[in-house]
Symmetry: C2
Subunit: 245 residues, 2 copies
């Protein structure tokens, strides 16, 4: 048996999220379906760095699987892509030690959230960027983002449906970049709670509009109460951008 | 009765082209369906600057229609967009003289064709750019494009299925711009034949790979025979970019 570590890119628009579910079209089921065909019907499971929600995209999602097939890195990429739908692409597949684990070994993840900040909608971005026609103050958003950096209990910015007990996470960086009509939020950290990036974006958008101050954001964080934070930003602006091991 | 001139943007991915057809999902049928609802069931027809094929997009398609409703420019845009699917957006709607005709009055059209020129596919561009992994010589393509400029009989670059008799057209400009992994071809002219832009792109791609020379392109043009020109480039890289009156 050989363990393989793969990277993939996907457009989450047409999927019910990453994770396998009965009777649902998911990223995981597509990849496992193709691997199972390649293994002549022997069912193969993959383990990813973590799930992504319905409509969320990935520039670089990582997963591992075990196989007794001897295929080169390039061979795996070609064979998998030949059978996968066009909105899922394997970008690399390399041999790793059998001790490697795509979820437990994650050191850092980066998520990107894209805003299309313009008076007019762009049909080509409707599934790939949050259309937001109101003015946003980038400096104010960056100042509020800075107080979120570091190690905190992020309960206030985590979906109430989360079943994780320990809600302490470390955000090492939040950058907000505006180019023409696009605003990119980049969040890097050792881990993110359920809906955390989307609630943080929802909060920063209120700051950018002058509805909340940096002090308000500090108080929301300290409150550890999800009801104090603004609403979750939509899924379709979010990208799992990178996973580091 | 008042005539209105509207501009719209659409993502052609999920449509069977612009033109109304029985039992097909088209851009024209969507817009007419919404207009008919707004006119309480009185059927309203629109006339565009010309059709676009299945999978072809528009940044600025223009159409006109007549109505006895008194609605402001902004009112039309809002009302139409509220009922149109998200992949069709009206960007403007203004009152014009009843003599204005969206097809007959066209002075100039610009089409854009996008190539994603990279070793690796990008899932987010799969419907919006032709994925082309081979090296392309931009200077050679521009030189060949220059011989296509001017007034010529473009029979060699027109689908054999075209029923138009006069195949003389004037191309006033062809620019080819490379930025990072994207190559944009911009074609401006007084009119384009059926599949003409896509056959021109197919031809220029052969030039860019060194398979055809500028002289070959001149000879194909002179031959007035479609069988001499390379194959039609796929629809999904093509955009109706602008229409001038």
């Amino acid at each position: 048996m050989q363990r393989y570590k793969c990277s993939m890119m996907y457009d989450g628009t047409n999927y019910n999220g990453y994770q396998k579910q009965p009777d649902a079209n998911t990223i995981q089921s597509e990849v496992e379906r193709v691997l199972t065909v390649m293994h002549k019907g022997v069912s193969i499971s993959i383990t990813s760095s973590g799930r992504t929600d319905s409509g969320v995209h990935a520039i670089n999602q990582v997963f591992h699987f075990d196989s007794n097939l001897k295929i080169s890195s390039e061979g795996w990429v070609k064979a998998l892509n030949a059978q996968l739908p066009k909105d899922i692409r394997i970008t690399s597949c390399v041999e790793v030690e059998s001790s490697f684990h795509a979820r437990y070994d994650v050191k850092e993840k980066t998520y990107q959230y894209k805003i299309y900040n313009s008076k007019h909608e762009d049909v080509f971005l409707r599934n790939y960027s949050l259309y937001f026609p109101y003015e946003l103050d980038i400096d104010k958003m960056q100042s509020a983002a800075d107080v979120l950096k570091g190690t905190h209990d992020f309960t206030a910015f985590c979906s109430a449906r989360s079943e994780v007990e320990d809600k302490v996470r470390t955000i090492s960086g939040i950058s907000i970049i505006k180019t023409c009509n696009e605003i990119q939020f980049n969040f890097t950290g050792n881990g993110f709670l359920y809906n955390m990036v989307r609630i943080l974006v929802g909060t920063l958008l209120e700051v950018g509009q002058g509805k909340l101050s940096t002090t308000d954001v500090e108080n929301i964080l300290k409150s550890r109460d999800r009801r104090n934070a603004p609403k979750t930003a939509p899924a379709h602006g979010l990208y799992l951008y990178d996973v580091k091991y």
